[in-house]
Symmetry: C2
Subunit: 133 residues, 2 copies
Amino acid sequence: MTLKYSRQREAIKDFLMTRKDHPTADVVYSNVRTEFPNISLGTVYRNLTLLADLGEIARLRVGDGVDHFDADTSPHYHFVCSDCGNVIDLDMDSIDYINQTAAKNFNGQITGHITYFYGLCPHCKEKKLKALS
Amino acid sequence: MTLKYSRQREAIKDFLMTRKDHPTADVVYSNVRTEFPNISLGTVYRNLTLLADLGEIARLRVGDGVDHFDADTSPHYHFVCSDCGNVIDLDMDSIDYINQTAAKNFNGQITGHITYFYGLCPHCKEKKLKALS
DNA sequence: ATATCTGCAAAATCTTTGCATTTAA
DNA sequence: TTAAATGCAAAGATTTTGCAGATAT
């Protein structure tokens, strides 16, 4: 199972790299379709899974029942807006030490954690402030 | 929309309270079915959603694509075994202050976070140790 | 009496997969 | 040439929903 080049796969990854908003498979599909009108949703899913397995992209599960994808595989945290659902990168210090906190009274082995924050994104917060004034 | 008593709903909640392993809707269904052989999966889902909305149970999303449910609504963290998939309660100090860490360079409003830890549960860790010795 | 709840089945949503064909190497 | 990738459509898995009948208040 050697990897073989595919223009579709490259287009999928290229598209993801242009976006900072962590699109879903469906969004990837409709966008890549402007370049490859015949691409199928199955191909999009297959390639997203493949790229994620290769570690070239990250699969994000933020609890909305849909997978999001991120071309930025560097360790960072995400924020999910409770109002609009947007997923935003957070520029914050590492909190990896919470693994130690969790390990204190635990007999298993903790190798990592998944964390995302929620609340109001800057845009929705502004909107709410205006509505109240 | 006043709440009306239902034996099915009570059985669902009672079952959840007997379990510490955060069952899925399907597991709830097959267990409650021993008491109510005619209960439908739809009723189970409807009541789990209702109970979660009422805050009487918690809905857990740990990234495996299936919702888990927990009768323990007190704030606590969960561990998901990467090998067996089991979801275990962690007895650990609060890490709520990570909200402040996240808020530092963020213009929106952070109201909370979702965190779960992963690695090897005590049982799978033991098994792996034995296999290597 | 009547609003809520149920069982059933159908549908909705998201994702995976089988297969014949195309394509990269 | 041939293993991998694609498009298409069908199937899987999980969850939601419409509706007619049952049930709690």
